[in-house]
Each structure stands twice: as structure tokens, then as C-alpha cells.
């Protein structure tokens, strides 16, 4: 029997699809009682990893356990793990209620449970309609209802926000947090950090099939300090003054400004004032988590090695060519094309916007 811990352990997981390495020696642990975000750009190997965890794809190497056991040894897995992997797995003419009753029978839960979960996700009205006529948002809700059917201890969701309206996203956020608060486990994947930023406590960030960050979101946030950008009449003099005051984290930006880390705007202005150095411009710059996420995962698109703290290429827009012709390392488009998702229809320019300066106005966060 499984240990009932609610812990997910992924160890050295690798998957090779022909010549393409989708996942490469991935390891992380997901603890119960928290919502863990599983982040990475499209094609980073998120879906493949989740499907290996759930026994749907056979790993080339490594393994994973839920509650201390591989998926196929859980006994009645529907009562332990609920999964939302895609909003497509429905027979078009089978009604939502019948769809749930099929799997209620498979898990051995009473039929009334089907009506309960429909109520929970707000689909009671559509219970007797075929899932083929559902909107994407309704399909996502039905997929979630299916995942919750067995009242599982662990919930695994692959891009669940796709197709949900802002109201649905807000509902999902509240739901997942309260679900985790009862000591259960939530693992939620997304290709946008901003999308899950308000929901998750822990993050696993992967890029090109490898882990690039694994830990708490707060720690990630703290690791990035804000900078003050100043344009001074005499930069050299200001640097000397700052160093005298014990501020050493000073860089020159390409446009001739100084970037000072670890102090606030007021300190810099006071120092300049005392030294009699004129300031033409001064601004506080806060690093958006989205930019941080982008920097951690950019290797995937630019062909560079992904890495921690790779020197930031300035704080301007992301390096050009981010969405140019995908480099060879980009995980096979052919492979991904099979589960064409609605997100693929988003225009890249919308996403570039998100990566640059105004993420909050571009998409609703969950």
C-alpha cells in the first residue's frame, strides 16, 4: 500500500523521443500542503514529465513515485491522484454526467459523486449535454470534475488555466489553495509564471528538459534585488561617493547610466545631493518575476546554455530573436503539434509584451 504522504518524488527522469531528448535527468520533490508550480516554456518537457509521473509515458531512464509508489502500483489510482492533462479527453456525444459515471464506476465511487463534482465546478446545468458541444472553459471544468471524482489526495494539473475566463481562474486559484491547505498536494504546470504567481508557494522551473530552479517562490523573489538607475552629471564622482558610503554593487549600463543594487532611490539621491552631483534622471527598477523566469529559461529559444544568474542582458526588452527561427535544440514541433492547444493560437507578439514591461495588463493571473 502507498504511504499516504501525498509526496511526489521525481528522480533522474529522462525521456527520449527518437533523436529528441524531451526530458533530461529531471529531479524534484513536491511536498503536500503546498501548491507547487511546474514552469517552463512550451516544449520544455512539462507535459511529458507529468505524463511519465502518471504512467502514461514510459521513461527512458529514472522514475517517479506518488505516495512512495510508482503510479501503476497505487492500487486504485483514481482515489489517490486526480489529473487534468488536457481538455480534450471526452467522447463528443457522451453527456458530462455519463462521462463522470463511467469513471465513477471504474474507481468504485458512488454515482452521486458525479453530480457532486459537477456542482462543484459549476457544470450542473450542462450535465445532460454532450461534451462535444462544450466551450474550452467548460471542458476544462469537466476535466477538473473528473480529476476530483475520486476525492484524491494529490492533484496534478497541466495548464489548467487555458480557456478559463477571469472568473474561472479566480475560482480555480481559491480552490487549489484551499485544497492544499487541507494538507493535500497540488502540482500545476504553466508556461507563464505570471499566470500562477499568486497561486503557488513552490516552483520547479525547467528549460530544455532540465531543472533550472527548484525552491520557494519567495526565495526566488528575494534573490533578485531591485536596482536604482541614475543618470548623473559626473558618474565617476558618484561612484566614488557611493563606494565611500559602502555601496559597491554598481554597474554601468550600456546607455551610460549607473545601475546600483541594494539601495533605494532616496539614499542615492541624498548622497548625490551631499556631494553636489547633479542627477538628470533617477528611477527605481523592480525585477518582475516574469523577466526572471524568462531569463532562467531563455536558453531554450536562443540556443544558449540555460543557467542560474546568467548575466542579465541589460534590463531592456529580451534579447532579439527570442521568437525567431527556433534553434535546433527546440523540442520537435512535430511532437507537440499532436496536442495542439489553444495557447498556440496566441500571437507571439502578445507574449513578447508579457515578457517585457507590462505583464499584469496582458493576462489575468491566477
Amino acid at each position: 500500500m502507498h504511504d499516504g504522504s501525498g509526496r511526489i518524488v521525481v528522480q533522474g527522469l529522462s525521456k527520449q523521443f527518437g533523436p529528441i531528448t524531451a526530458v533530461n535527468n529531471l529531479s524534484f520533490t513536491v511536498e503536500p500542503g503546498s501548491v507547487t508550480g511546474f514552469l517552463g516554456p512550451n516544449g520544455a518537457g512539462k507535459t511529458t514529465t507529468l505524463r511519465m509521473l502518471l504512467g502514461l509515458v514510459r521513461p527512458t531512464a529514472g522514475g517517479s513515485t506518488i505516495n512512495g509508489l510508482p503510479f501503476d502500483q497505487l492500487g486504485n489510482p483514481g482515489r489517490v491522484v486526480g489529473a487534468v492533462l488536457e481538455a480534450q479527453g471526452f467522447h463528443p456525444t457522451r453527456t458530462a454526467r455519463n462521462h463522470l459515471r463511467v469513471y465513477a464506476a471504474a474507481m468504485g465511487v458512488p454515482d452521486q459523486r458525479a453530480d457532486q463534482v459537477l456542482e462543484l465546478v459549476g457544470l450542473s446545468e450542462a450535465a445532460r449535454r454532450g461534451a462535444g458541444g462544450f466551450s474550452l472553459g467548460m471542458k476544462q471544468r469537466l476535466a477538473l470534475a473528473t480529476a476530483l471524482l475520486g476525492d484524491p489526495q494529490v492533484l496534478v494539473l497541466d495548464e489548467p488555466a487555458n480557456g478559463l475566463d477571469p472568473e474561472g481562474i479566480a475560482w480555480l486559484r481559491t480552490f487549489l489553495q484551499s485544497f492544499a491547505r487541507t494538507g493535500r498536494t497540488v502540482l500545476i504546470s504553466s508556461h507563464l509564471l505570471a499566470e500562477v504567481e499568486q497561486t503557488v508557494d513552490q516552483v520547479v522551473i525547467i528549460s530544455r528538459g532540465q531543472t533550472v530552479y527548484y525552491g520557494s517562490l519567495d526565495y526566488l523573489r528575494q534573490s533578485q534585488q531591485s536596482r536604482v538607475l541614475v543618470q548623473a552629471a559626473d558618474p565617476q564622482a558618484l561612484v566614488v561617493k557611493l563606494q565611500e558610503a559602502g555601496v559597491n554593487a554598481i554597474e554601468q549600463t550600456p546607455d551610460g547610466r549607473l545601475a546600483i543594487t541594494g539601495v533605494d532611490r532616496k539614499t542615492v539621491a541624498d548622497l548625490a545631493m551631499a556631494a553636489g552631483i547633479a542627477l538628470y534622471d533617477i528611477q527605481q527598477e523592480t525585477v518582475d518575476l516574469e523577466q526572471l523566469f524568462f531569463r532562467l529559461t531563455q536558453g531554450q529559444y536562443t540556443g544558449q546554455q540555460p543557467g542560474y544568474g546568467a548575466p542579465p542582458p541589460g534590463y531592456g526588452p529580451p534579447p532579439g530573436g527570442g521568437y525567431g527561427p527556433p534553434p535546433q535544440g527546440y523540442a520537435a514541433p512535430g511532437l507537440r503539434a499532436r496536442h495542439a492547444r489553444p495557447r498556440a493560437t496566441r500571437h507571439p507578439s502578445t507574449r513578447n509584451q508579457a515578457y517585457t514591461q507590462q505583464p499584469s495588463q496582458v493576462r489575468t493571473r491566477i
Binding site: R51, Q73, A83, L85, G89, Y103, A106, R338
Partner: protein, 291 residues
């Protein structure tokens, strides 16, 4: 296992496929059964009116001809249980419901076992329906003296039911092997209706009887043709020796069982074919990545 079987039954009963296939099954079986028996009646009328036959005092009327039509009806109507079986796993893969099916089953093996049992039952249902329709058609359209006796009827009906069940499982195996509804249905129908007839016609002696369709037809066809052949000596005093052998072969061919072995050998060969495809589909499903 009981839980998964009940889930499989719900899967079938909550969509239209089962009756969408059962209706044409009934229609086709009725058409073949009634049409075939009526045709035999008409042909026999012609023969009986022939002066040569009358002078030789040959009596073709008192043979259970309807059993040949019965075997033919089962063999042709079996295409629907084949399609039904072929869709068992492949449509789940196609509709992507297989993801949830695997996620709610203890392991792949148990889901596949549940499907195998469920579709064996549905194959029997198709077999019973086809045999019932073929029997009713026989009662309507056949001359009373050409009907089989009760025991013979039970024999051919049982062979028909078993044949349909094995066809369903074979179809399921092929569907699981290919993983695509269209590929599996087209290749199954193309093979059973066309390709094997071409191969079979080129093979000598008993060789057609070991092929897939040949053994399946042999299961039902041999039962029927043996019932008729057993009565061949009754045709008349002239039906002896070589003539008898020749005529018996003719009857077997008419029953769709040319070159077939005895019904039980044919049945075993066909069961082996079904097992080969079921095992192949099973192994394929165990390792197939659901991406």
C-alpha cells in the same frame, strides 16, 4: 475487475455506436437470410422442372439447404462485430479518453482484461442477434423440408455465436495493434472481404482453411456443409463415389468453407488467430506512450 467491466459497459451504453452497428447487422442478416433461402427455393424449382433430373429420380428437395444460407449469413454479418471490436480501444485512443481510462485503472493490464471480457460478451450478443435473425429469416423463406432438425439448428447457431465472439476479439486486437479506428477498420474489411479471397483462390487443398477468414468461415460453414453432405446419399441412387465427393465439395464451397477443416479444427485455428491479434494488441498497448 468488476468495477472496470461495469465502466466498460457504461462506456458502450452511453454512446450510440452499439445500436448504430446493431441495426445494420439485423438488416444485413435479414436480407441475406431471406434472400438466400428464397433464391435456393427458386433454383430448386428450376432443377426439379428439369426433365433429366426427373428421369434420374434425383431428389434435391430433402436436404437442409437453409443451413448453408445460415452459415453465409453469419459470415457476412460478422463484419459489424468486427468493426465494433476494432473500435474498442482504438476509438479511445482517437478520442483521447484513453488517458482517463488508464488513470482510473490499477494498471494497463487490468483495463485491457476488462475490455477483453466486456467485448467478448458484446461479441456474444452480436452473435446471438445474428443467429436469431438468420433463424427467423430461415423460417420465413425456406421450404419446411429444407430446414435443419432441432439438434442441427443448435449446432449451427452455436457455431455462429462463437464465430461472432471471436471476430469481435480479433477486431479488438487489430484495433489495439494499430491504435487508429480508420486504419484498423479499413485493413480488417479490406482483408476479410477482398485480400483473403484472392490469396485463398491461389492456394491449393486445405490451405485456405488455415487463413483467418477461411478458418472463421470453416467454423460455421463446415457445420452447415456437413449437415447437408450427410444427406447427399439421400439424393438418389446415382449419387455414389466420385459424384458424391464432387457434389460434397460443391456444397462446401457454397457454404463458404472451401478447403476448410472440420468445424472444431477450424474453430481452434480461428481462435488461435484471434489470440495472436489480441496478444499483439495487448503487448502494443502495454508499451504505447499516451502523449
Amino acid at each position: 475487475m468488476g468495477r472496470l467491466i461495469s465502466a466498460e459497459f457504461r462506456k458502450i451504453l452511453t454512446t450510440k455506436m452499439w445500436w448504430a452497428l446493431l441495426i445494420p447487422t439485423v438488416a444485413l442478416a435479414a436480407l441475406w437470410s431471406i434472400g438466400g433461402n428464397a433464391l435456393i427455393g427458386a433454383v430448386l424449382d428450376q432443377i426439379n422442372n428439369n426433365t433429366v433430373v426427373a428421369q434420374l429420380r434425383l431428389d434435391f428437395n430433402h436436404l437442409p439447404w437453409s443451413t448453408l444460407i445460415f452459415a453465409r449469413t453469419v459470415n457476412i454479418s460478422a463484419i459489424f462485430p468486427i468493426v465494433f471490436g476494432a473500435l474498442a480501444l482504438s476509438s479511445e485512443i482517437n478520442r483521447r479518453t484513453i488517458t482517463t481510462s488508464y488513470l482510473t485503472a490499477p494498471n494497463r493490464g487490468s483495463l485491457l482484461t476488462a475490455k477483453l471480457i466486456t467485448y467478448a460478451v458484446w461479441g456474444l450478443v452480436f452473435g446471438v442477434v445474428i443467429s436469431a435473425v438468420a433463424s427467423i429469416g430461415m423460417l420465413i423463406a425456406s421450404r419446411p423440408e429444407q430446414l435443419p432438425d432441432a439438434v442441427s439448428w443448435l449446432e449451427i447457431a452455436a457455431s455462429g455465436v462463437v464465430s461472432c465472439m471471436l471476430w469481435t476479439l480479433l477486431g479488438m486486437g487489430v484495433g489495439a495493434l494499430f491504435g487508429s479506428p480508420i486504419a484498423s477498420i479499413i485493413s480488417l474489411l479490406l482483408y476479410t472481404l477482398l485480400v483473403e479471397n484472392l490469396i485463398g483462390s491461389l492456394l491449393p487443398d486445405n490451405w485456405p482453411g488455415i487463413l483467418i477468414n477461411g478458418s472463421a468461415d470453416g467454423l460455421t460453414g463446415s457445420v452447415a456443409s456437413q449437415l447437408v453432405v450427410a444427406k447427399v446419399p439421400n439424393i438418389g441412387g446415382l449419387m455414389t463415389g466420385e459424384a458424391q465427393t464432387l457434389f460434397s465439395d460443391l456444397i462446401r464451397t457454397a457454404a463458404g468453407a472451401r478447403g476448410a477443416f472440420d468445424w472444431w479444427i477450424s474453430g481452434l485455428i480461428f481462435a488461435a488467430w484471434a489470440a495472436v491479434f489480441a496478444v499483439g494488441g495487448w503487448l502494443m498497448s502495454k508499451t504505447r506512450d499516451i502523449t
